[in-house]
């Protein structure tokens, strides 16, 4: 009887001690993040989830969601599920440009005014005079050309754009690394069944202590990453698998998705521009895996444009070699986005699309 009481006392004391340690870690972490010793805001930018499941597109931006709050790159999703200002009614005289693509188009880690669509809108306003311009940022983090196509079919063409700008390709590389390859990326995409409450590990991520401990251990807080929901667990790539990335099926699937997107845009009376997605050549030269992959994408983009009568926007010489244009291997800095926007608007102007 006495030993049982003693056991329970020790157990209670140990539990109390554990609780005190957890409270202490959380308290110290909150103080460390507040003092700027731990980049808590940056880590938390990966969550909470800015995307939600969609029954036919896989996932879409979550209406009204915010990301990076407290940083200079706060991202706000409007009530229509696009980043930036909500599209207004389609009135006469309006030039509506729909920008579709991935996180580069979305402007991950860029303030609203520095994103590619925002820069395009700014430049267009100078070109078209009194005509009303509306550039919709329909870029979504992690989108491959397959999601872009379905989203364009179910949402984009309902906006009745005059021009559709396609900027994608980097996210189509990873699906080509996973076998057996399927055109619809079933082998790569997780089927995100239901937007139920946050996963337990995501709830943990809300705790400063968890974030700090993972940061100290050098482990990225994966639970907050979108691909933790949307992508199947991938097998590590080997050199052979990288070679597999040059498989014909993957490249052709990308070409077909681009071509079908352009055909869809044309079917609703919109013109299309396919932008050659640049990459940071100072990190990856043209012989590197990324360099070769992006060059292959560019060839397919050119094919798609030629096949469907779309226009192709190439980047100026030396753009990829200037590291100041990139935040990493593919994402643009504010300066990079500005330069790409100029190239796009100049092309529109050259094509005579910007009548005042």
């Amino acid at each position: 009887m006495q030993s049982k009481r003693r056991f329970l006392t020790i157990l209670g004391a140990e539990l109390l001690l554990l609780l005190l340690i957890a409270v202490a870690i959380e308290g110290i972490s909150i103080a460390a993040i507040a003092a700027g010793l731990v980049p808590g805001a940056e880590l938390r930018m990966k969550g909470p989830m800015i995307v939600r499941p969609h029954p036919l597109i896989g996932f879409v931006l979550r209406e009204g969601a915010r990301r990076g709050t407290g940083t200079d790159a706060e991202q706000i999703v409007n009530n229509r599920g696009y980043r930036g200002a909500e599209p207004g009614p389609r009135g006469p005289g309006l030039l509506r440009v729909l920008c579709v693509g991935d996180s580069v188009m979305y402007g991950d880690s860029l303030p609203e005014g520095d994103t590619l669509p925002a820069r395009i809108e700014e430049l267009l306003r100078d070109k078209v005079g009194p005509r009303r311009v509306e550039v919709i940022n329909a870029g979504v983090l992690q989108y491959t050309s397959a999601e872009t196509l379905v989203a364009l079919a179910l949402r984009g063409i309902d906006l009745q754009p005059d021009i559709v700008i396609f900027y994608q390709g980097a996210n189509d590389v990873a699906p080509r690394l996973v076998r057996p390859f399927r055109n619809d990326y079933y082998h790569y995409r997780n089927v995100w069944e239901a937007d139920t409450e946050m996963r337990a590990d995501l709830r943990l991520e809300a705790s400063s202590g968890y974030v700090t401990l993972r940061w100290l251990a050098g482990i990225y807080p994966a639970a907050g990453r979108i691909d933790a929901y949307t992508t199947r667990p991938l097998t590590p790539t080997t050199q052979n698998e990288k070679e597999f990335a040059f498989n014909r099926s993957g490249n052709e699937a990308f070409l077909r998705n681009e071509a079908a997107g352009v055909a869809l845009a044309r079917s609703c009376g919109a013109r299309s521009l396919i932008v050659a997605t640049p990459y940071n050549a100072s990190l990856a030269d043209s012989h590197s895996f990324l360099g070769r992959m992006m060059s292959e994408n560019k060839r397919k983009q050119l094919d798609a444009a030629a096949k469907q009568g779309a226009n192709f926007v190439a980047m100026p010489d030396g753009f990829g070699k200037d590291a100041s244009n990139f935040r990493d291997s593919v994402h643009l800095t504010a300066a990079g986005a500005k330069a790409v926007a100029k190239q796009i608007v100049d092309e529109m102007d050259k094509l005579g699309w910007l009548v005042k």
């Binding site: 029954p55 379905v150 619809d184 069944e193 055909a263 079917s267």
Partner: protein, 266 residues
């Protein structure tokens, strides 16, 4: 004693009926969901027949693209034969019936009875599919099977989705399969629903044309449950200059009409 036996039998049957109705829900499947042994979720077109499924019976078998095999495999037959892919929902798939009794099998049988007509038909039906999912599934299988003609037969699923209560133009209201929620019962046919249905039929046509195939769209029979789809079908076929197939009532008559349309299409 016989009365007690009768009561016992009634009780057992009632319990069995309740259990049968609840079983799909208990395993995460709504009563309208297709059998998960034969179908699986797909993030871009909701649900698909599990490819390379040899099990035959009420559902299946399926080839590598998830096309239902009836008699000869879709890839069998003469290579010069004209390939026709028939798309639709559970009616086209022949859900719950052996593969040989599906509408596509009947069409195939009629076409094969015609001398000097080399046509290969494939069953691209999938329970729970409607115009938008058919269009996207078409995009991802079109280049692998390379049909020159596509026939889309809209059905009850199109009514469920485009005439649903709580309809959203981007079809966000459609429940995921195997999550315990069935496709909604059709409600009122609204202008927004009709516009989305027309949009998705146009997408189907664009996808088919981009892949070098022609599309025939079928208008459900005027007396059936999906009669409200007729006007949008007529409208889109006129707008896009598509061949239109006005379906009669009854499975055998539908098969004959589809076979006639395939035969007379160039």
């Amino acid at each position: 004693m016989p009365l007690q036996k009768l009561q016992k039998t009634i009780c057992i049957r009632a319990l069995a009926a309740v259990a049968a109705a609840c079983a799909p829900v208990a395993c995460g499947r709504a009563p309208g969901d297709p059998d998960p042994s034969f179908f699986r979720s797909n993030s871009l077109f909701r649900v698909e027949p599990i490819p390379n499924l040899s099990a035959a019976g009420a559902h299946g078998p399926h080839d590598g693209l998830g096309l239902r095999i009836h008699g000869n495999t879709p890839d069998g037959g003469a290579p010069e034969a004209r390939r026709v892919l028939i798309l639709g929902g559970s009616f086209v798939y022949g859900y719950g019936a052996p593969a040989g009794e599906s509408i596509v099998a009947k069409v195939d049988e009629i076409l094969k009875s015609q001398p000097r007509l080399a046509v290969k038909t494939a069953n691209g039906g999938c329970p729970g599919h409607f115009a938008a999912t058919a269009a996207m599934r078409l995009h991802f299988i079109l280049y692998a099977w390379k049909p020159s003609l596509i026939v889309y037969i809209p059905g009850f699923e199109d009514m469920s989705v485009y005439a649903a209560a709580g309809f959203a133009p981007d079809l966000n209201h459609v429940p995921r399969p195997f999550t315990g929620q069935a496709l909604p019962e059709p409600g009122l046919w609204t202008a927004a629903g009709a516009a989305a249905f027309e949009r998705d039929l146009r997408t189907l046509e664009v996808i088919a044309r981009t892949g070098g195939a022609r599309l025939i769209i079928a208008a459900p029979d005027a007396s059936g449950r999906a009669a409200a789809l007729r006007d949008p079908v007529f409208k889109v076929s006129k707008q896009r200059n598509l061949s239109l197939l006005d379906l009669p009532a009854g499975a055998d008559a539908v098969a004959r009409a589809v076979a006639d349309a395939i035969r007379s299409s160039k």
